[in-house]
Each structure stands twice: as structure tokens, then as C-alpha cells.
């Protein structure tokens, strides 16, 4: 077994003992929650902004151009400038729109992605919640976002956004299915739904290698379904620029639009991190068979670097999809899900169940 050098559980336990020692139980808990809230808020803002910048640079290099390079060295402060601009922009009230729902929609979308971040294991012992039904919780929470999109589409009283919202409703509901089923194959391999357990089970090799063919199939299906889940890439029908101008967030302006924008990028980050956690062993360093010295060196790289490296790779893959493929039509999208992804998933699960029963996986 690898000796885990970096372990954050004693750190979190010491903070907990310090707080309970000189504060009452109730107060200690609230302070802990406030700390976690602040950490995640900061994390959310930083990751969101720099994902937008990363996407613009990656897409620019793929299109033979430079991308943002004026604001700050290499365009470093570009998205911060964008955020400030969006904060200063006027929030245009929409006539005869449902005021309450119109303003509520962005927050639902943000809350959904916030709740999903809570379950991500950044390193051993470094995660907000570690439910024993981790994956189940994540799938349940990620389907909350569609409620926000539907409300946004309906309440902004514009025909384009209504069509956009209906499309994204149908899309996300049907792609929930194959996201869940493809994660299920790894749960069968790992034997538990708790995320830290899943990572622990990949200590002696990531599931994508150990689970050989069915794991690779599950990974491909998961990537396709999750790009559809986050309304990105070839499936961005909800805000199809060339058909519906900007889909469900046509009428939003200023910081409300920024919420939708950041939430979309956070969903991409969450989906990429779960692909890394389930298939590529989260923060588990890369170990190759017998090369002990190599494995030992790998252990010295802190797990957070491993985690963010794998997630960055997944994010690059998702961006690569978006900037290469044309958009699917709504009926092709649904036939892809129900006629292609679902059967593949079901067959895959049968094979995986059979393999794990006969222990043919490594």
C-alpha cells in the first residue's frame, strides 16, 4: 500500500478540537461552516474566472489567434475586468416578466453548483462532506440546475428564452440517465458510493486501467453525457447563438448574466473533477507496477497537484469538443441519448457486473 505522505485529516481535527475547546458546540459548528463557506466562495470565484480565461485562450489557440492578451500580462486580469464590467452594468428590468422568479433563477443555478462542489475530495481528508452515498448525492444535486434554467426561460417573457429553456429541460433530464449509469459502472468496481472509498480503492491502479474495456466505454459515455449535462460543446442547444440568440439567458444582463455564465463554467469544473475522481483516481498519484523508485517519487508530488492536473486535462477535453463540432439538433440529441448511449450503458453494466463477479478486473 502506498504510504500517504500528505494527510489533511489531523489538520481539520486540530481546528475542530481548538474550536470546541473554548467555544460552545453550537458556535464552533457555525464558525466552521462560515470558514468552509468563505473558502468555497473564494475557490468558486477564482476557479470560475480563470476557467473563463483558460477557455478563451484554449479556443483562441485552436483558432489560430492569440486570445485575450491586453488586460494584464498575457490577459491575466481579463476576466476580472469582465466581472467588474458586469457588476457595473445596469440590470434591465423586463416588462411583464415574473419579477420574483426572474431574479430567483440565477441563484438556483449557483446553489446547485455550490452544493456539488461540497462533495469533491481535493485530497485525503480535505473535503467538505464525505457522505457514504457521495455519488448518489452528486447526481441528485446536479439535476437541480435545470430547474433554475427552466424558471429563467419561462419568467423572462421572451419567446427565444422559452424555447431555449424547453430544449435544455428535455436535454438535461434525458442525459441525467447516462451520467448516472456510467458512474454506476465504477461504483460496481469500487464496491462503495463514498467518494473517498472509491479513491482509496484506486490506490493500486486507476479504474480506467484496472477496469480495462468497460471502464473506457463508461468513461467515453460519461464525457459525452456530462458535456450535454452542462449545456456545452456540441449540445449547447439551450443557448444556441445562431438560432436563439442567447437562449434562456437572453434577457439577463449585468451580474445576473454573470451568475449564469460562472455557473456554467463551475458545472464544467465539477463534471471534469468527477471524471478525474472516478476514472483517474482523484488525488491518487500515478503508480506503474513494479517500479518502486518511480512510484516513490510520484508520492512526493502533493495530491492537490495530482487532482488539479487530472481535472485540467478533463476540462481541456471538454473544451476540445466545444470548439470542433457543430451543434446537434434537438431530436438528434435525444435519439443519441435514448437509442445509443442508454443501450451501450446497460450492456456495459451487465459486462461489468459479470467481470467484477468473476474478478477478471486487475
Amino acid at each position: 500500500m502506498t504510504s500517504v505522505i500528505y494527510d489533511f485529516t489531523p489538520l481539520t481535527q486540530s481546528i475542530d478540537q481548538f474550536l470546541t475547546k473554548n467555544l460552545s458546540q453550537g458556535w464552533a459548528l457555525t464558525i466552521e461552516l462560515v470558514i468552509i463557506g468563505l473558502v468555497f466562495l473564494l475557490f468558486y470565484a477564482v476557479i470560475g474566472l480563470y476557467l473563463v480565461l483558460a477557455e478563451r485562450r484554449v479556443c483562441a489557440f485552436m483558432q489560430n489567434r492569440l486570445g485575450p492578451n491586453r488586460v494584464g500580462p498575457g490577459g491575466f486580469f481579463q476576466t476580472i475586468a469582465d466581472l467588474i464590467k458586469l457588476l457595473l452594468k445596469e440590470l434591465i428590468p423586463i416588462r411583464r416578466a415574473d419579477k420574483f422568479l426572474f431574479n430567483l433563477a440565477p441563484f438556483i443555478v449557483i446553489i446547485a453548483s455550490f452544493m456539488a462542489i461540497a462533495a469533491i475530495p481535493f485530497a485525503k481528508g480535505l473535503h467538505a462532506i464525505d457522505f457514504n452515498i457521495g455519488i448518489f448525492y452528486v447526481i441528485a444535486v446536479s439535476s437541480l440546475g435545470v430547474v433554475g434554467i427552466l424558471i429563467a426561460g419561462w419568467s423572462s417573457n421572451s419567446k427565444y428564452s422559452l424555447i431555449g429553456a424547453m430544449r435544455s429541460g428535455a436535454q438535461i433530464v434525458s442525459y441525467e440517465l447516462s451520467v448516472g449509469l456510467s458512474l454506476l459502472t465504477i461504483v460496481i468496481f469500487a464496491g462503495s458510493m463514498q467518494l473517498s472509498e472509491v479513491i482509496q480503492s484506486q490506490a493500486d491502479g486507476w479504474w480506467i486501467w484496472k477496469g480495462h474495456i468497460p471502464a473506457v466505454v463508461a468513461f467515453l459515455v460519461f464525457m459525452i453525457a456530462s458535456t450535454a449535462e452542462t449545456n456545452r460543446g456540441p449540445f449547447d442547444l439551450a443557448e444556441a447563438e445562431s438560432e436563439l440568440t442567447a437562449g434562456f439567458h437572453t434577457e439577463y444582463s449585468g451580474i445576473k448574466f454573470a451568475f449564469f455564465f460562472l455557473a456554467e463554467y463551475m458545472n464544467m469544473f465539477i463534471v471534469a473533477s468527477f471524471a478525474a475522481t472516478m476514472f483517474f483516481g482523484g488525488w491518487m498519484p500515478l503508480h506503474i507496477g513494479g517500479w518502486d523508485t518511480f512510484n516513490h517519487i510520484m508520492d512526493y508530488i502533493p495530491p492537490i497537484i495530482w487532482y488539479f492536473g487530472k481535472t485540467a486535462l478533463m476540462i481541456y477535453l471538454i473544451m476540445w469538443f466545444k470548439w470542433t463540432f457543430p451543434r446537434l439538433r434537438i431530436d438528434q440529441l435525444l435519439t443519441l441519448e435514448w437509442k445509443y448511449l442508454l443501450p451501450i450503458n446497460l450492456v456495459n453494466i451487465i459486462i461489468v457486473a459479470f467481470i467484477s463477479w468473476k474478478h477478471w478486473h486487475f
Binding site: 484554449v58 489557440f61 485552436m62 483558432q63 489560430n64 489567434r65 492569440l66 476540445w320 469538443f321 470548439w323 470542433t324 463540432f325 445509443y340
Partner: protein, 167 residues
């Protein structure tokens, strides 16, 4: 069999998607192919083509002389009236009354760069300038007077003008 086509369909599709991704991937790893022109930064080194149509100008030689006789042919030939010639009568040295150009007004805002004025000018007084930064805050700045103040007509013997007809 239906299943066979179903499966080969999937693999053919994935192969076509992968070929498309190879192109964007290729350009991602070849930054030397970037074509962006860094305009404000390369302003000093930026040189336009020799025949670039920036704006209509009236070339003046070193002692502030141009060759516009004020005949008004360019004004009649301009399709949308963006040239106005103002001339005045003046007695020249040989005692006769002669028409002299006073103001050659050129409305850059109306000009469509059709080059008819330059082509039909008998004395080749007009030429293209390479200046292309025409952004102004006030539209009136776009009406320019082409002949510089205090400039006069360049006198030269008749036969020299014929052979240097514009190519």
C-alpha cells in the same frame, strides 16, 4: 443486419469526430501559425501596400506647389458629389483674367473610393494617400481642404506634362 450497421455506424461516427479533433488539436500545438496582427503595438513598423487607397490627397512638392488648375472635371465625374471646387478669377502676369483654384473641398465622409476623380484628372493633381486612421469625434473634421494654404499652381512647360501621364 441492423445491429451490424448500428455498431459500424458508431465507430464510423467516432472516427469522423476524431479526424475533426485532430485538426483543431494540430493548430493548438502549432502557435507559429497564429495570424493575429497586433495592430496598435506594430503601428511603427506597419507599412501598407504601395497602392493602398487610404484617402484622396493632393501631392504638393517642396516649395508648396500643386498641379490643380481648378477645372472641375473631378467634381462632375464624382458619382456622389463628395468634391467641391471653389475658384476665383485672378489676373496673371500676362494680364489676362485666369481661373485659379481657391479651395478644393473633399468630403471624406461621402467618398466611396471609386477612383474616378484621380483617373479623369487631366493634370494628375490628385493621388491616393496611405493614411487609414480616419476616426474622428466630429463629422465636420471629415471634410478636408486638399490644397494647403498658401500653395500655388506649379507652372511648367506644356510638353513635359504629356509624357508623364499616369501609367
Amino acid at each position: 443486419m441492423e445491429i451490424i450497421t448500428y455498431i459500424t455506424d458508431i465507430f464510423k461516427g467516432l472516427k469522423s469526430l476524431w479526424k475533426g479533433m485532430m485538426i483543431t488539436g494540430y493548430y493548438f500545438v502549432h502557435p507559429k501559425e497564429i495570424v493575429t496582427q497586433r495592430y496598435p503595438e506594430n503601428r511603427k513598423t506597419l507599412v501598407m501596400f504601395e497602392r493602398f487607397k487610404g484617402e484622396v490627397t493632393m501631392p504638393h512638392d517642396e516649395n508648396n506647389q500643386h498641379s490643380c488648375t481648378g477645372c472641375g472635371i473631378c467634381e462632375t465625374n464624382c458619382p456622389n458629389g463628395s468634391i467641391e471646387i471653389i475658384t476665383r478669377k485672378e489676373v496673371n502676369e500676362s494680364g489676362k483674367l485666369e481661373r485659379v483654384i481657391e479651395k478644393h473641398i473633399y468630403h471624406l465622409s461621402m467618398c466611396t473610393f471609386c477612383e474616378l476623380c484621380i483617373k479623369t484628372c487631366p493634370s494628375n493633381a490628385l493621388a491616393w494617400g496611405n493614411e487609414f486612421e480616419h476616426a474622428v469625434f466630429d463629422r465636420h473634421k471629415l471634410t478636408k481642404v486638399l490644397n494647403k494654404p498658401g500653395s500655388s499652381l506649379k507652372k511648367e512647360p506644356k510638353e513635359k506634362k504629356l509624357e508623364e501621364v499616369k501609367n
